[in-house]
Symmetry: C2
Subunit: 327 residues, 2 copies
């Protein structure tokens, strides 16, 4: 069997996640990992026989990689990397700055069309699996209301924001959906919920010796955008406890959609994820969309795609015959 | 705006459901309802200005109906009707005899290709929304285990089976998922579950005067395929109580999929429905797929399709611009 040759671009949590889960996909093989660090100093964690290369070398791999998984960050990496890479490769990214998705789509689409490649953007679980479910639910029940809850899980962005405070050595922030709010939506009550009524924020913080904890706590709780609009709890713990109890990257959440049909019949759709490892699950989804990108491009299709443009069957390793049995 | 002209073929619970929910779809209009009864004796329940016609007249409506929603039963109606109708119309059906879906697909595909039409088969929620979720989950976590639970809800097939017993005037059967089993799956325990361990069956039965209730209860509980493999409870109630307490057709259920990634990280995906009206929800989904069938056919595509072949975006009334904001 001809395997889909996969490249990883960016070797952080997500890139390592792709490396970890790729073996579950018998139709794929990992051929290269591109890193910004010195390739000689980077050891692959799991996969042997994989070339570790610099970002600059990637161009020479044109024709030897079928789909490149872009594992950089949405703030500064992907807006440049995805359009650049899609010139030479089919690509999949997890661009997650929701408000900039239309612009990112446009930029990727132009280059992908020119290069004759497919660029799947904003894959993963939110955006990604959650987006699909928001759109399906809205199409099934067009005048309903959708709610997205996140957590319980670690928000990397919020953890980073705490780490930037002077006197903080390390931090882990959990986003926690408020169970009462979730249950009201589940019961089809269709409530109006303020930011504060949907999620709590819980912070575990390691500080330098001798700092003013009360001041740091205040600074966290009043941080605009990140914490000011939420009920936030701050726990100061030791470095050892942080490593022991908060080393994982669990996450999850729910998309709920409710509407009434006919004479007051409540209809509720819920899609939920409970993930022990956020990066490994995100990586798993990126690989499913890599398969779709490969197939679409083989079939002559080019341009930018989102998860909304791709039929479920294209993601699956199973044959048409096997899929008909799963309908 | 040009509206999609919809026909209903079969005016039972599901056909009436389509009539009830179609107004939520601003891009559609209902133009005709075909019934097996005498059209003169059938009054539309909700929609005015809709032609009620006989099945035989349908042929004359070629070119005046864009998508026909087939609302017949899977046992005897749809295996004949769908291939027959797809000669002249784009069609959507909710064929739900899982083991015969491959054959039904083949039959519909042949005629649809010849007639230049699209035939979406096995739409609805199971098969349908549940099928999509089984395939997405399996593509995201390829070596996981999937579980489907149904209920709490009314099973029409099981209610009918009880009604066929001598001495029974009416009956309503609820399928109830066993909460403990659902929770074990939710926790990623990956249990092996026998039929009896997944669902209970609860029956509300109205009998003729003077019959042997104990005999009827035994006959229900020992009925092969339907009840013998389940823990079944039978309640004998009055006709009035049945009408008062059990008139609705609620249903729902969950598709759960769990797998491990990396070093023992549990990942759990759950899709759940809680429906006050099964026929109105099924009808809502059929209309979303009618939109997709219309668009695919406009775009030159023909043949049989399942929900697995259709990208989410094609189901939505929203523009590409609006959809990008939902990603």
């Amino acid at each position: 069997m001809e395997r889909i040759r996969i490249g990883i671009c960016g070797y952080g949590n997500l890139g390592k996640g792709v490396e970890t889960v790729i073996d579950k996909n018998n139709d794929m093989e990992l051929v290269a990992i591109a890193t910004r660090r010195n390739p000689k100093e980077v050891a692959c964690q799991i996969q042997k026989n994989v070339s570790v290369i610099s970002m600059e070398e990637l161009e020479n791999w044109k024709g030897r990689i079928d789909v490149m998984i872009l594992c950089g960050g949405s703030a500064t990496d992907l807006p440049k990397q995805t359009p650049m890479m899609v010139k030479n490769f089919n690509v999949v990214d997890s661009f997650d700055t929701h408000k900039n998705i239309p612009e990112h789509f446009k930029n990727v689409n132009e280059v992908a069309k020119l290069g004759g490649k497919i660029g799947v953007i904003s894959s993963g679980w939110d955006p990604g699996a959650f987006s699909i479910n928001r759109v399906y639910a809205d199409a099934f029940l067009p005048d309903g209301t959708s709610y997205t809850f996140w957590g319980k899980g670690v928000s990397q962005g919020h953890s980073d924001a705490i780490r930037r405070i002077e006197g903080v050595k390390d931090a882990r922030q959990y986003t926690i959906p408020i169970e009462d709010a979730v249950n009201r939506v589940r019961n089809g009550e269709n409530p109006e919920l303020k930011t504060r009524e949907k999620h709590l924020r819980e912070c575990y913080v390691v500080v330098e010796d001798g700092v003013d904890k009360a001041k740091i706590e205040k600074e966290i709780k009043e941080m605009p955008n990140y914490f000011a609009d939420y009920d936030t709890t701050v726990h100061f713990i030791s470095e050892e406890e942080l490593k022991r109890e908060h080393a994982g990257l669990p996450h999850g959440g729910s998309v709920l959609h409710s509407a009434q049909t006919g004479s007051g019949n409540k209809q509720v759709i819920e899609y939920s994820l409970k993930l022990d490892s956020n990066p490994e699950f995100t990586a798993s989804i990126l690989l499913a969309y890599a398969r779709a990108a490969y197939r679409m491009n083989k079939n002559g299709d080019t341009g930018a795609k989102t998860v909304l443009d791709i039929p479920p069957a294209l993601l699956s390793m199973k044959s048409q015959e096997e899929l008909l049995k799963m309908v």
